[in-house]
Protein backbone atom coordinates (compact mmCIF):
# COMPACT_ATOMS: atom_id res chain seq x y z
CA UNK A 1 0.00 0.00 0.00
CA UNK A 2 1.62 3.18 -1.10
CA UNK A 3 -0.90 5.98 -1.53
CA UNK A 4 1.62 8.67 -2.27
CA UNK A 5 3.25 6.85 -5.16
CA UNK A 6 -0.14 5.76 -6.42
CA UNK A 7 -1.34 9.35 -6.42
CA UNK A 8 1.77 10.61 -8.18
CA UNK A 9 1.44 7.94 -10.84
CA UNK A 10 -2.23 8.78 -11.23
CA UNK A 11 -1.44 12.49 -11.57
CA UNK A 12 1.31 11.83 -14.04
CA UNK A 13 -0.65 9.60 -16.36
CA UNK A 14 -4.26 10.65 -15.82
CA UNK A 15 -4.89 13.93 -14.00
CA UNK A 16 -2.37 16.20 -15.68
CA UNK A 17 -2.95 15.00 -19.26
CA UNK A 18 -6.72 15.00 -18.76
CA UNK A 19 -6.75 18.53 -17.39
CA UNK A 20 -4.74 19.77 -20.36
CA UNK A 21 -6.84 17.83 -22.87
CA UNK A 22 -10.03 18.94 -21.10
CA UNK A 23 -9.03 22.59 -21.40
CA UNK A 24 -8.44 22.14 -25.13
CA UNK A 25 -11.80 20.43 -25.58
CA UNK A 26 -13.52 23.08 -23.47
CA UNK A 27 -12.17 25.86 -25.69
CA UNK A 28 -13.28 23.97 -28.79
CA UNK A 29 -16.72 23.24 -27.33
CA UNK A 30 -17.17 26.89 -26.37
CA UNK A 31 -16.83 27.85 -30.02
CA UNK A 32 -19.34 25.20 -31.07
CA UNK A 33 -21.80 26.21 -28.38
CA UNK A 34 -21.56 29.91 -29.30
CA UNK A 35 -22.33 29.20 -32.96
CA UNK A 36 -25.17 26.90 -31.91
CA UNK A 37 -26.62 29.46 -29.49
CA UNK A 38 -26.36 32.52 -31.68
CA UNK A 39 -26.25 31.35 -35.30
CA UNK A 40 -28.50 28.40 -34.42
CA UNK A 41 -26.73 25.54 -36.16
CA UNK A 42 -24.06 23.00 -35.36
CA UNK A 43 -20.92 24.09 -37.10
CA UNK A 44 -19.24 20.99 -38.48
CA UNK A 45 -16.46 23.11 -39.89
CA UNK A 46 -15.28 23.93 -36.37
CA UNK A 47 -12.55 21.27 -36.26
CA UNK A 48 -11.12 22.48 -39.51
CA UNK A 49 -11.38 26.10 -38.43
CA UNK A 50 -9.15 25.05 -35.54
CA UNK A 51 -6.81 23.36 -38.01
CA UNK A 52 -6.67 26.49 -40.15
CA UNK A 53 -5.88 28.74 -37.19
CA UNK A 54 -3.25 26.31 -35.94
CA UNK A 55 -1.75 26.11 -39.42
CA UNK A 56 -1.27 29.88 -39.52
CA UNK A 57 0.33 29.62 -36.09
CA UNK A 58 2.72 26.93 -37.35
CA UNK A 59 3.69 29.01 -40.37
CA UNK A 60 4.08 32.16 -38.25
CA UNK A 61 6.16 30.22 -35.73
CA UNK A 62 8.50 29.03 -38.46
CA UNK A 63 8.81 32.56 -39.77
CA UNK A 64 9.51 33.96 -36.31
CA UNK A 65 12.10 31.24 -35.70
CA UNK A 66 13.76 32.03 -39.03
CA UNK A 67 14.23 35.67 -38.11
CA UNK A 68 15.47 34.63 -34.69
CA UNK A 69 12.57 35.89 -32.57
CA UNK A 70 11.60 33.70 -29.64
CA UNK A 71 10.28 33.73 -26.11
CA UNK A 72 13.18 31.91 -24.45
CA UNK A 73 11.78 29.08 -22.36
CA UNK A 74 8.23 29.58 -23.66
CA UNK A 75 7.21 28.28 -27.09
CA UNK A 76 7.45 30.78 -29.94
CA UNK A 77 3.92 29.72 -30.91
CA UNK A 78 2.58 31.99 -28.15
CA UNK A 79 3.94 34.95 -30.11
CA UNK A 80 2.44 33.53 -33.29
CA UNK A 81 -0.97 33.06 -31.64
CA UNK A 82 -2.23 36.65 -32.17
CA UNK A 83 -1.19 36.50 -35.83
CA UNK A 84 -2.98 33.17 -36.20
CA UNK A 85 -6.12 34.52 -34.55
CA UNK A 86 -6.18 37.42 -36.99
CA UNK A 87 -5.70 35.03 -39.92
CA UNK A 88 -8.46 32.77 -38.71
CA UNK A 89 -10.80 35.74 -38.15
CA UNK A 90 -10.18 36.73 -41.75
CA UNK A 91 -11.04 33.21 -42.90
CA UNK A 92 -14.33 32.99 -41.00
CA UNK A 93 -15.38 36.48 -42.03
CA UNK A 94 -14.71 35.68 -45.68
CA UNK A 95 -16.58 32.37 -45.36
CA UNK A 96 -19.48 34.14 -43.71
CA UNK A 97 -19.59 36.79 -46.41
CA UNK A 98 -19.31 34.28 -49.27
CA UNK A 99 -21.38 31.42 -47.91
CA UNK A 100 -23.39 31.77 -44.73
CA UNK A 101 -24.73 35.28 -45.34
CA UNK A 102 -26.55 34.15 -48.46
CA UNK A 103 -28.47 31.55 -46.44
CA UNK A 104 -29.18 34.02 -43.66
CA UNK A 105 -30.73 36.38 -46.16
CA UNK A 106 -32.94 33.57 -47.43
CA UNK A 107 -33.86 32.87 -43.82
CA UNK A 108 -32.83 29.27 -44.53
CA UNK A 109 -33.74 26.63 -41.97
CA UNK A 110 -30.89 25.79 -39.57
CA UNK A 111 -30.57 22.22 -40.81
CA UNK A 112 -29.60 23.61 -44.21
CA UNK A 113 -26.85 25.63 -42.54
CA UNK A 114 -25.62 22.42 -40.89
CA UNK A 115 -25.14 20.84 -44.30
CA UNK A 116 -23.61 24.06 -45.61
CA UNK A 117 -21.12 23.97 -42.75
CA UNK A 118 -20.13 20.46 -43.86
CA UNK A 119 -19.29 21.86 -47.25
CA UNK A 120 -17.23 24.57 -45.60
CA UNK A 121 -15.57 21.83 -43.54
CA UNK A 122 -14.41 19.94 -46.66
CA UNK A 123 -13.15 23.10 -48.32
CA UNK A 124 -11.24 24.28 -45.25
CA UNK A 125 -9.87 20.80 -44.74
CA UNK A 126 -8.60 20.72 -48.32
CA UNK A 127 -7.20 24.23 -48.03
CA UNK A 128 -5.19 23.37 -44.93
CA UNK A 129 -3.78 20.19 -46.43
CA UNK A 130 -3.02 22.02 -49.66
CA UNK A 131 -1.02 24.70 -47.86
CA UNK A 132 0.84 22.72 -45.21
CA UNK A 133 0.45 19.10 -46.31
CA UNK A 134 -1.20 16.21 -44.52
CA UNK A 135 1.81 15.29 -42.38
CA UNK A 136 2.70 15.84 -38.77
CA UNK A 137 4.36 19.17 -38.06
CA UNK A 138 6.16 19.83 -34.85
CA UNK A 139 6.35 23.46 -33.90
CA UNK A 140 6.83 23.36 -30.15
CA UNK A 141 10.12 24.83 -28.97
CA UNK A 142 11.53 26.32 -25.79
CA UNK A 143 11.75 24.41 -22.50
CA UNK A 144 10.05 21.02 -22.76
CA UNK A 145 9.16 20.45 -19.11
CA UNK A 146 8.05 22.58 -16.19
CA UNK A 147 9.00 19.65 -13.98
CA UNK A 148 10.58 16.56 -15.49
CA UNK A 149 10.02 13.13 -14.01
CA UNK A 150 13.65 12.84 -12.98
CA UNK A 151 13.73 16.22 -11.20
CA UNK A 152 10.55 15.32 -9.40
CA UNK A 153 11.99 12.03 -8.19
CA UNK A 154 15.15 13.74 -7.00
CA UNK A 155 13.15 16.47 -5.27
CA UNK A 156 10.76 14.19 -3.44
CA UNK A 157 12.66 10.92 -3.25
CA UNK A 158 9.57 9.06 -4.43
CA UNK A 159 9.70 6.08 -6.69
CA UNK A 160 7.27 7.56 -9.17
CA UNK A 161 7.99 10.67 -11.21
CA UNK A 162 5.57 13.46 -12.09
CA UNK A 163 6.25 15.27 -15.33
CA UNK A 164 4.42 18.43 -16.28
CA UNK A 165 5.07 19.61 -19.81
CA UNK A 166 5.42 23.34 -20.45
CA UNK A 167 2.67 23.02 -23.04
CA UNK A 168 0.33 21.52 -20.46
CA UNK A 169 0.96 24.40 -18.09
CA UNK A 170 0.47 26.92 -20.87
CA UNK A 171 -2.71 25.18 -22.01
CA UNK A 172 -4.33 25.52 -18.60
CA UNK A 173 -3.22 29.12 -18.06
CA UNK A 174 -4.29 30.26 -21.52
CA UNK A 175 -7.61 28.42 -21.27
CA UNK A 176 -8.40 30.04 -17.92
CA UNK A 177 -7.60 33.48 -19.30
CA UNK A 178 -9.66 32.88 -22.46
CA UNK A 179 -12.67 31.61 -20.54
CA UNK A 180 -12.54 34.47 -18.04
CA UNK A 181 -12.36 36.99 -20.88
CA UNK A 182 -15.26 35.33 -22.69
CA UNK A 183 -17.53 35.32 -19.63
CA UNK A 184 -16.66 38.87 -18.77
CA UNK A 185 -17.45 39.87 -22.36
CA UNK A 186 -20.79 38.02 -22.52
CA UNK A 187 -22.04 39.16 -19.12
CA UNK A 188 -20.67 42.64 -18.66
CA UNK A 189 -20.30 44.38 -22.00
CA UNK A 190 -23.06 45.91 -24.08
CA UNK A 191 -22.05 43.93 -27.17
CA UNK A 192 -21.86 40.68 -25.20
CA UNK A 193 -25.30 41.25 -23.75
CA UNK A 194 -26.68 42.02 -27.19
CA UNK A 195 -25.30 38.66 -28.36
CA UNK A 196 -27.12 36.90 -25.52
CA UNK A 197 -30.28 38.85 -26.30
CA UNK A 198 -30.09 37.83 -29.96
CA UNK A 199 -29.60 34.22 -28.93
CA UNK A 200 -32.58 34.41 -26.59
CA UNK A 201 -35.09 36.09 -28.88
CA UNK A 202 -34.14 37.27 -32.36
CA UNK A 203 -37.33 39.20 -33.01
CA UNK A 204 -37.21 41.15 -29.80
CA UNK A 205 -33.51 41.88 -30.34
CA UNK A 206 -34.42 43.37 -33.69
CA UNK A 207 -37.20 45.42 -32.07
CA UNK A 208 -34.68 46.70 -29.55
CA UNK A 209 -32.51 48.02 -32.36
CA UNK A 210 -29.81 45.33 -32.15
CA UNK A 211 -28.21 44.85 -35.56
CA UNK A 212 -28.22 41.09 -36.35
CA UNK A 213 -25.32 41.32 -38.81
CA UNK A 214 -23.21 42.95 -36.11
CA UNK A 215 -24.03 40.20 -33.64
CA UNK A 216 -23.17 37.54 -36.21
CA UNK A 217 -19.86 39.23 -37.00
CA UNK A 218 -18.81 39.47 -33.36
CA UNK A 219 -19.78 35.84 -32.85
CA UNK A 220 -17.57 34.72 -35.71
CA UNK A 221 -14.67 36.82 -34.45
CA UNK A 222 -14.89 35.33 -30.97
CA UNK A 223 -15.31 31.82 -32.34
CA UNK A 224 -12.25 32.28 -34.56
CA UNK A 225 -10.20 33.40 -31.57
CA UNK A 226 -11.39 30.46 -29.45
CA UNK A 227 -10.90 27.92 -32.24
CA UNK A 228 -7.39 29.13 -33.02
CA UNK A 229 -6.40 29.13 -29.36
CA UNK A 230 -7.78 25.61 -28.92
CA UNK A 231 -6.09 24.43 -32.12
CA UNK A 232 -2.70 25.90 -31.26
CA UNK A 233 -2.77 24.55 -27.70
CA UNK A 234 -3.71 21.10 -28.94
CA UNK A 235 -1.02 21.23 -31.60
CA UNK A 236 1.61 22.33 -29.08
CA UNK A 237 0.63 19.64 -26.62
CA UNK A 238 0.41 16.77 -29.12
CA UNK A 239 1.47 17.72 -32.62
CA UNK A 240 -0.08 19.46 -35.57
CA UNK A 241 -1.73 17.15 -38.09
CA UNK A 242 -4.67 18.42 -40.16
CA UNK A 243 -6.66 15.19 -40.05
CA UNK A 244 -6.52 14.99 -36.24
CA UNK A 245 -8.54 18.22 -35.97
CA UNK A 246 -11.23 16.74 -38.13
CA UNK A 247 -11.37 13.77 -35.76
CA UNK A 248 -11.51 16.12 -32.78
CA UNK A 249 -15.00 17.15 -33.92
CA UNK A 250 -16.55 14.17 -32.14
CA UNK A 251 -15.14 14.78 -28.65
CA UNK A 252 -15.77 18.52 -29.08
CA UNK A 253 -19.41 18.03 -29.99
CA UNK A 254 -19.76 15.43 -27.26
CA UNK A 255 -18.42 18.00 -24.78
CA UNK A 256 -20.80 20.70 -25.94
CA UNK A 257 -23.81 18.37 -25.90
CA UNK A 258 -22.97 16.70 -22.58
CA UNK A 259 -22.69 20.11 -20.94
CA UNK A 260 -25.84 21.39 -22.64
CA UNK A 261 -25.65 22.98 -26.10
CA UNK A 262 -25.86 26.74 -26.06
CA UNK A 263 -24.61 26.96 -22.49
CA UNK A 264 -20.98 28.17 -22.18
CA UNK A 265 -20.57 26.86 -18.63
CA UNK A 266 -21.78 23.48 -19.83
CA UNK A 267 -19.24 23.45 -22.64
CA UNK A 268 -16.40 23.80 -20.13
CA UNK A 269 -17.76 21.13 -17.80
CA UNK A 270 -18.44 18.87 -20.78
CA UNK A 271 -14.89 19.30 -22.03
CA UNK A 272 -13.46 18.05 -18.75
CA UNK A 273 -15.98 15.23 -18.44
CA UNK A 274 -15.12 13.90 -21.88
CA UNK A 275 -11.38 14.33 -21.37
CA UNK A 276 -11.36 12.59 -17.99
CA UNK A 277 -13.53 9.73 -19.25
CA UNK A 278 -11.40 9.24 -22.31
CA UNK A 279 -8.13 9.22 -20.37
CA UNK A 280 -9.29 7.10 -17.44
CA UNK A 281 -10.95 4.49 -19.63
CA UNK A 282 -8.00 4.11 -21.97
CA UNK A 283 -5.38 4.21 -19.19
CA UNK A 284 -3.68 0.98 -18.07
CA UNK A 285 -4.30 0.99 -14.31
CA UNK A 286 -1.83 -1.76 -13.44
CA UNK A 287 0.77 0.59 -11.99
CA UNK A 288 -1.60 2.54 -9.75
CA UNK A 289 -3.36 -0.60 -8.58
CA UNK A 290 -0.08 -2.29 -7.79
CA UNK A 291 0.69 0.51 -5.35
CA UNK A 292 -2.76 0.37 -3.80
CA UNK A 293 -3.58 -3.33 -3.66
CA UNK A 294 -2.03 -5.77 -1.19
CA UNK A 295 0.72 -7.82 -2.80
CA UNK A 296 -1.40 -10.92 -3.13
CA UNK A 297 -4.06 -9.09 -5.12
CA UNK A 298 -1.71 -7.49 -7.61
CA UNK A 299 -3.32 -7.42 -11.03
CA UNK A 300 -1.67 -9.60 -13.59
CA UNK A 301 -3.05 -7.84 -16.66
CA UNK A 302 -2.77 -4.21 -17.71
CA UNK A 303 -6.22 -3.33 -16.33
CA UNK A 304 -6.90 -1.20 -19.36
CA UNK A 305 -10.61 -1.02 -20.10
CA UNK A 306 -10.22 0.04 -23.72
CA UNK A 307 -7.32 0.32 -26.09
CA UNK A 308 -6.36 3.91 -26.91
CA UNK A 309 -7.22 3.18 -30.52
CA UNK A 310 -10.83 3.18 -29.45
CA UNK A 311 -10.75 6.44 -27.53
CA UNK A 312 -13.34 8.03 -29.78
CA UNK A 313 -15.79 5.33 -28.80
CA UNK A 314 -15.76 6.81 -25.30
CA UNK A 315 -17.06 10.20 -26.47
CA UNK A 316 -19.55 8.43 -28.64
CA UNK A 317 -20.96 6.30 -25.82
CA UNK A 318 -21.15 9.27 -23.44
CA UNK A 319 -22.92 11.21 -26.14
CA UNK A 320 -25.45 8.40 -26.55
CA UNK A 321 -26.07 8.05 -22.83
CA UNK A 322 -26.61 11.78 -22.37
CA UNK A 323 -28.93 12.05 -25.34
CA UNK A 324 -30.97 9.10 -24.10
CA UNK A 325 -31.33 10.12 -20.47
CA UNK A 326 -30.70 13.85 -20.23
CA UNK A 327 -31.00 15.36 -23.70
CA UNK A 328 -30.71 18.94 -22.47
CA UNK A 329 -27.27 18.17 -21.05
CA UNK A 330 -26.02 18.57 -17.53
CA UNK A 331 -26.29 22.34 -17.51
CA UNK A 332 -29.64 22.73 -19.20
CA UNK A 333 -28.79 23.74 -22.71
CA UNK A 334 -31.30 24.20 -25.45
CA UNK A 335 -31.08 20.83 -27.18
CA UNK A 336 -34.04 18.56 -26.59
Amino acid sequence: MDFLNAFVALSNFVLVPAIAYGSQLALGALGVTLIYGILRFSNFAHGDTMAFGAMIAVLATWWLQSIGVGLGPLPTALLALPIAILGCMLLVLITDRLVYRFYREQKAKPVILVIVSMGVMFITNGLVRFVIGPDDQNFADGERFLISARDFKEMTGLEEGLAIKTTQGITVVVAVIAVALLFWFLNKTRTGKSMRAYSDNEDLALLSGINPERVVMYTWLIVAALATTAGVLYGLDKSFKPFVYFQLLLPIFASAIVGGLGNPLGAIAGGFIIAFSEVTITYAWKKVLTYLAPETLEPSGLVQLLSTDYKFAVSFVILLIVLLFKPTGLFKGKAV
Binding site: R190, N201, L207, A335
Partner: protein, 276 residues
Protein backbone atom coordinates in the same frame (compact mmCIF):
# COMPACT_ATOMS: atom_id res chain seq x y z
CA UNK B 1 -43.01 31.54 -48.32
CA UNK B 2 -42.89 27.75 -48.09
CA UNK B 3 -42.10 27.37 -51.79
CA UNK B 4 -38.46 28.14 -51.21
CA UNK B 5 -36.22 25.06 -50.86
CA UNK B 6 -34.37 26.90 -48.09
CA UNK B 7 -37.44 26.72 -45.90
CA UNK B 8 -37.89 22.99 -46.20
CA UNK B 9 -36.11 21.20 -43.39
CA UNK B 10 -37.57 17.81 -44.29
CA UNK B 11 -39.13 17.51 -40.87
CA UNK B 12 -35.84 17.72 -39.02
CA UNK B 13 -36.45 17.94 -35.29
CA UNK B 14 -32.92 17.16 -34.10
CA UNK B 15 -32.12 19.86 -31.60
CA UNK B 16 -28.54 18.68 -31.23
CA UNK B 17 -27.70 20.17 -34.59
CA UNK B 18 -30.27 22.93 -34.98
CA UNK B 19 -31.42 25.47 -32.45
CA UNK B 20 -34.89 26.78 -33.10
CA UNK B 21 -35.42 28.46 -29.74
CA UNK B 22 -35.82 32.18 -30.19
CA UNK B 23 -35.42 32.02 -33.95
CA UNK B 24 -36.62 35.05 -35.83
CA UNK B 25 -40.14 34.82 -37.21
CA UNK B 26 -40.67 38.42 -38.14
CA UNK B 27 -41.14 39.18 -41.78
CA UNK B 28 -40.60 42.91 -42.06
CA UNK B 29 -42.08 44.47 -45.16
CA UNK B 30 -38.89 46.45 -45.61
CA UNK B 31 -35.60 44.93 -44.52
CA UNK B 32 -33.82 48.12 -45.52
CA UNK B 33 -35.47 51.46 -45.02
CA UNK B 34 -36.71 53.45 -47.95
CA UNK B 35 -37.31 57.18 -48.09
CA UNK B 36 -39.50 59.09 -45.70
CA UNK B 37 -41.32 62.21 -46.61
CA UNK B 38 -42.72 65.03 -44.53
CA UNK B 39 -46.35 65.59 -45.37
CA UNK B 40 -47.56 67.25 -42.17
CA UNK B 41 -50.92 67.37 -40.49
CA UNK B 42 -53.09 64.58 -39.14
CA UNK B 43 -52.95 62.72 -35.84
CA UNK B 44 -49.63 61.92 -34.15
CA UNK B 45 -49.56 58.33 -35.42
CA UNK B 46 -51.88 57.13 -38.13
CA UNK B 47 -52.16 54.08 -40.32
CA UNK B 48 -54.20 55.68 -43.05
CA UNK B 49 -56.50 53.52 -45.21
CA UNK B 50 -54.06 50.62 -45.14
CA UNK B 51 -54.60 47.68 -47.48
CA UNK B 52 -52.15 44.79 -47.41
CA UNK B 53 -51.08 41.32 -46.32
CA UNK B 54 -48.03 39.23 -45.51
CA UNK B 55 -45.48 38.77 -48.28
CA UNK B 56 -47.20 37.62 -51.46
CA UNK B 57 -50.31 36.47 -49.56
CA UNK B 58 -53.81 37.85 -49.98
CA UNK B 59 -54.90 41.15 -48.48
CA UNK B 60 -55.82 40.91 -44.82
CA UNK B 61 -56.47 44.57 -44.20
CA UNK B 62 -58.90 46.44 -46.40
CA UNK B 63 -58.78 50.20 -46.31
CA UNK B 64 -58.24 50.11 -42.56
CA UNK B 65 -57.49 53.27 -40.61
CA UNK B 66 -56.24 53.49 -37.04
CA UNK B 67 -54.79 56.53 -35.36
CA UNK B 68 -53.74 57.86 -32.00
CA UNK B 69 -53.12 61.43 -30.98
CA UNK B 70 -50.95 62.92 -28.26
CA UNK B 71 -52.14 62.17 -24.74
CA UNK B 72 -54.66 59.61 -25.92
CA UNK B 73 -55.26 55.92 -25.50
CA UNK B 74 -56.56 54.29 -28.67
CA UNK B 75 -57.88 50.76 -28.49
CA UNK B 76 -58.44 48.29 -31.29
CA UNK B 77 -61.06 45.65 -30.53
CA UNK B 78 -62.97 43.13 -32.58
CA UNK B 79 -63.74 39.46 -32.90
CA UNK B 80 -61.06 36.79 -33.34
CA UNK B 81 -59.38 36.94 -36.72
CA UNK B 82 -60.59 40.46 -37.38
CA UNK B 83 -57.06 41.63 -38.12
CA UNK B 84 -56.51 43.60 -34.90
CA UNK B 85 -52.93 42.46 -34.39
CA UNK B 86 -52.37 42.59 -38.12
CA UNK B 87 -53.39 46.25 -38.21
CA UNK B 88 -50.94 46.93 -35.39
CA UNK B 89 -48.19 45.07 -37.22
CA UNK B 90 -48.94 47.02 -40.38
CA UNK B 91 -48.40 50.26 -38.49
CA UNK B 92 -45.10 48.85 -37.21
CA UNK B 93 -43.90 47.83 -40.67
CA UNK B 94 -44.22 44.08 -40.44
CA UNK B 95 -46.80 43.81 -43.16
CA UNK B 96 -46.71 44.85 -46.80
CA UNK B 97 -48.88 47.92 -46.95
CA UNK B 98 -49.88 47.92 -50.61
CA UNK B 99 -51.94 51.07 -50.53
CA UNK B 100 -52.40 53.70 -47.90
CA UNK B 101 -49.68 55.04 -45.65
CA UNK B 102 -48.33 55.19 -42.12
CA UNK B 103 -47.46 58.61 -40.75
CA UNK B 104 -45.69 59.49 -37.53
CA UNK B 105 -45.80 63.13 -36.46
CA UNK B 106 -46.60 64.20 -40.00
CA UNK B 107 -43.80 62.13 -41.58
CA UNK B 108 -44.63 59.36 -44.03
CA UNK B 109 -42.77 56.30 -42.66
CA UNK B 110 -44.46 53.64 -44.80
CA UNK B 111 -41.12 52.54 -46.27
CA UNK B 112 -39.15 52.32 -43.03
CA UNK B 113 -37.92 49.04 -41.55
CA UNK B 114 -39.26 48.16 -38.08
CA UNK B 115 -35.87 48.89 -36.48
CA UNK B 116 -35.81 52.37 -37.93
CA UNK B 117 -39.33 52.97 -36.67
CA UNK B 118 -38.00 52.20 -33.19
CA UNK B 119 -35.30 54.81 -33.73
CA UNK B 120 -37.99 57.26 -34.87
CA UNK B 121 -39.70 56.83 -31.50
CA UNK B 122 -42.13 53.95 -31.78
CA UNK B 123 -42.15 51.47 -28.92
CA UNK B 124 -43.70 48.10 -29.66
CA UNK B 125 -44.60 45.31 -27.22
CA UNK B 126 -45.43 42.09 -29.08
CA UNK B 127 -48.12 39.79 -27.75
CA UNK B 128 -45.86 36.77 -27.17
CA UNK B 129 -42.13 36.29 -26.62
CA UNK B 130 -41.87 39.88 -25.54
CA UNK B 131 -39.06 39.49 -23.00
CA UNK B 132 -35.56 37.99 -23.00
CA UNK B 133 -36.31 35.06 -20.70
CA UNK B 134 -32.71 34.03 -20.02
CA UNK B 135 -31.61 37.54 -19.07
CA UNK B 136 -32.21 39.38 -15.82
CA UNK B 137 -34.88 42.03 -15.49
CA UNK B 138 -32.24 44.74 -15.47
CA UNK B 139 -30.54 43.32 -18.57
CA UNK B 140 -33.92 43.27 -20.30
CA UNK B 141 -34.28 46.97 -19.61
CA UNK B 142 -30.70 47.62 -20.74
CA UNK B 143 -31.42 45.86 -24.02
CA UNK B 144 -34.50 48.03 -24.40
CA UNK B 145 -32.19 51.01 -24.25
CA UNK B 146 -29.74 49.48 -26.73
CA UNK B 147 -30.11 52.24 -29.31
CA UNK B 148 -29.49 54.95 -26.72
CA UNK B 149 -25.96 56.23 -26.39
CA UNK B 150 -26.69 58.63 -23.54
CA UNK B 151 -27.01 57.76 -19.88
CA UNK B 152 -30.30 55.93 -19.39
CA UNK B 153 -30.15 55.32 -15.64
CA UNK B 154 -32.84 57.94 -14.97
CA UNK B 155 -35.20 56.25 -17.45
CA UNK B 156 -34.56 52.96 -15.68
CA UNK B 157 -35.42 54.60 -12.36
CA UNK B 158 -38.68 55.87 -13.89
CA UNK B 159 -39.54 52.36 -15.06
CA UNK B 160 -38.76 51.00 -11.60
CA UNK B 161 -40.97 53.72 -10.06
CA UNK B 162 -43.77 52.68 -12.38
CA UNK B 163 -43.28 48.97 -11.72
CA UNK B 164 -41.80 48.69 -8.21
CA UNK B 165 -41.89 44.88 -8.28
CA UNK B 166 -39.32 44.93 -11.07
CA UNK B 167 -36.85 46.79 -8.91
CA UNK B 168 -37.16 44.07 -6.32
CA UNK B 169 -36.53 41.38 -8.93
CA UNK B 170 -33.97 43.26 -10.98
CA UNK B 171 -31.32 40.53 -10.76
CA UNK B 172 -33.67 37.63 -11.39
CA UNK B 173 -33.97 36.04 -14.86
CA UNK B 174 -37.10 37.47 -16.47
CA UNK B 175 -38.23 33.98 -17.48
CA UNK B 176 -38.75 33.11 -13.81
CA UNK B 177 -41.32 35.85 -13.24
CA UNK B 178 -45.10 35.46 -13.22
CA UNK B 179 -47.23 36.32 -16.23
CA UNK B 180 -48.18 39.78 -14.99
CA UNK B 181 -44.62 40.61 -14.01
CA UNK B 182 -43.38 39.49 -17.40
CA UNK B 183 -45.77 41.90 -19.07
CA UNK B 184 -44.42 44.67 -16.84
CA UNK B 185 -40.90 43.79 -17.98
CA UNK B 186 -42.10 43.85 -21.59
CA UNK B 187 -43.70 47.27 -21.25
CA UNK B 188 -40.71 48.52 -19.25
CA UNK B 189 -38.34 47.34 -21.97
CA UNK B 190 -40.29 49.28 -24.59
CA UNK B 191 -40.33 52.41 -22.38
CA UNK B 192 -36.53 52.40 -22.11
CA UNK B 193 -36.09 54.00 -25.53
CA UNK B 194 -38.21 56.93 -24.32
CA UNK B 195 -40.65 56.31 -27.16
CA UNK B 196 -42.95 58.99 -28.52
CA UNK B 197 -45.74 56.47 -28.96
CA UNK B 198 -46.27 53.07 -27.35
CA UNK B 199 -47.94 50.17 -29.11
CA UNK B 200 -49.19 47.25 -27.04
CA UNK B 201 -50.41 44.01 -28.59
CA UNK B 202 -52.83 42.41 -26.11
CA UNK B 203 -50.90 43.31 -22.97
CA UNK B 204 -53.36 41.43 -20.76
CA UNK B 205 -53.44 38.18 -22.71
CA UNK B 206 -53.17 35.22 -20.38
CA UNK B 207 -53.04 37.04 -17.05
CA UNK B 208 -55.53 36.72 -14.20
CA UNK B 209 -58.35 39.31 -13.85
CA UNK B 210 -56.72 40.92 -10.80
CA UNK B 211 -53.41 41.30 -12.57
CA UNK B 212 -55.29 42.57 -15.60
CA UNK B 213 -56.87 45.39 -13.57
CA UNK B 214 -53.46 46.31 -12.24
CA UNK B 215 -51.94 46.32 -15.71
CA UNK B 216 -54.73 48.59 -16.99
CA UNK B 217 -54.05 50.95 -14.08
CA UNK B 218 -50.39 51.08 -15.02
CA UNK B 219 -51.18 51.67 -18.66
CA UNK B 220 -53.38 54.62 -17.70
CA UNK B 221 -50.55 55.88 -15.52
CA UNK B 222 -48.16 55.72 -18.49
CA UNK B 223 -50.70 57.51 -20.69
CA UNK B 224 -51.06 60.29 -18.11
CA UNK B 225 -47.40 61.18 -18.65
CA UNK B 226 -48.51 62.28 -22.13
CA UNK B 227 -47.34 59.20 -24.00
CA UNK B 228 -49.86 58.19 -26.67
CA UNK B 229 -50.79 54.51 -26.47
CA UNK B 230 -52.19 52.35 -29.21
CA UNK B 231 -53.28 48.94 -28.07
CA UNK B 232 -55.05 45.81 -29.20
CA UNK B 233 -57.29 44.25 -26.57
CA UNK B 234 -59.44 41.19 -26.21
CA UNK B 235 -61.20 42.42 -23.09
CA UNK B 236 -63.16 44.89 -25.13
CA UNK B 237 -65.40 46.25 -22.37
CA UNK B 238 -62.59 47.12 -19.99
CA UNK B 239 -60.37 48.43 -22.73
CA UNK B 240 -63.03 50.70 -24.21
CA UNK B 241 -63.75 52.06 -20.75
CA UNK B 242 -60.28 53.59 -20.60
CA UNK B 243 -60.02 54.45 -24.29
CA UNK B 244 -60.18 57.94 -25.71
CA UNK B 245 -60.59 56.42 -29.11
CA UNK B 246 -61.88 53.01 -30.09
CA UNK B 247 -61.72 51.07 -33.32
CA UNK B 248 -63.85 48.03 -33.92
CA UNK B 249 -62.39 45.96 -36.75
CA UNK B 250 -64.26 43.24 -38.59
CA UNK B 251 -62.58 41.22 -41.32
CA UNK B 252 -59.79 43.72 -41.72
CA UNK B 253 -62.10 46.67 -42.11
CA UNK B 254 -63.18 49.50 -39.85
CA UNK B 255 -66.64 48.58 -38.60
CA UNK B 256 -67.18 51.21 -35.92
CA UNK B 257 -65.08 54.11 -34.79
CA UNK B 258 -65.67 56.51 -31.97
CA UNK B 259 -64.66 57.46 -28.47
CA UNK B 260 -64.58 54.63 -25.99
CA UNK B 261 -67.77 55.82 -24.33
CA UNK B 262 -69.63 56.16 -27.62
CA UNK B 263 -68.77 52.63 -28.60
CA UNK B 264 -69.74 51.26 -25.22
CA UNK B 265 -73.09 52.99 -25.55
CA UNK B 266 -73.66 52.01 -29.17
CA UNK B 267 -76.35 49.29 -29.19
CA UNK B 268 -74.96 47.73 -32.38
CA UNK B 269 -71.48 47.38 -30.90
CA UNK B 270 -72.90 46.12 -27.63
CA UNK B 271 -74.97 43.50 -29.35
CA UNK B 272 -72.26 42.21 -31.66
CA UNK B 273 -69.10 42.47 -29.62
CA UNK B 274 -69.77 43.12 -25.98
CA UNK B 275 -72.33 40.42 -25.39
CA UNK B 276 -75.38 42.64 -24.93
Amino acid sequence: MSDSPYHDDHGNKDATITNKAGMGTMTPAHRKSGKTQYVGGGPFLIGDSMTGGYGKGPDILHDCTIAVDKGEIAVIVGPNGAGKSTAMKAVFGMLDVRSGSVRLDGEDITNLSPQDRVVKGMGFVPQTSNIFTSMTVEENLEMGAFIRTDDFSDTMEQVYDLFPILKEKRNQPAGELSGGQRQQVAVGRALMTKPKVLMLDEPTAGVSPIVMDELFDRIIEVARTGLPILMVEQNARQALAIADKGYVLVQGQNAYTGTGKELLADPEVRKSFLGG
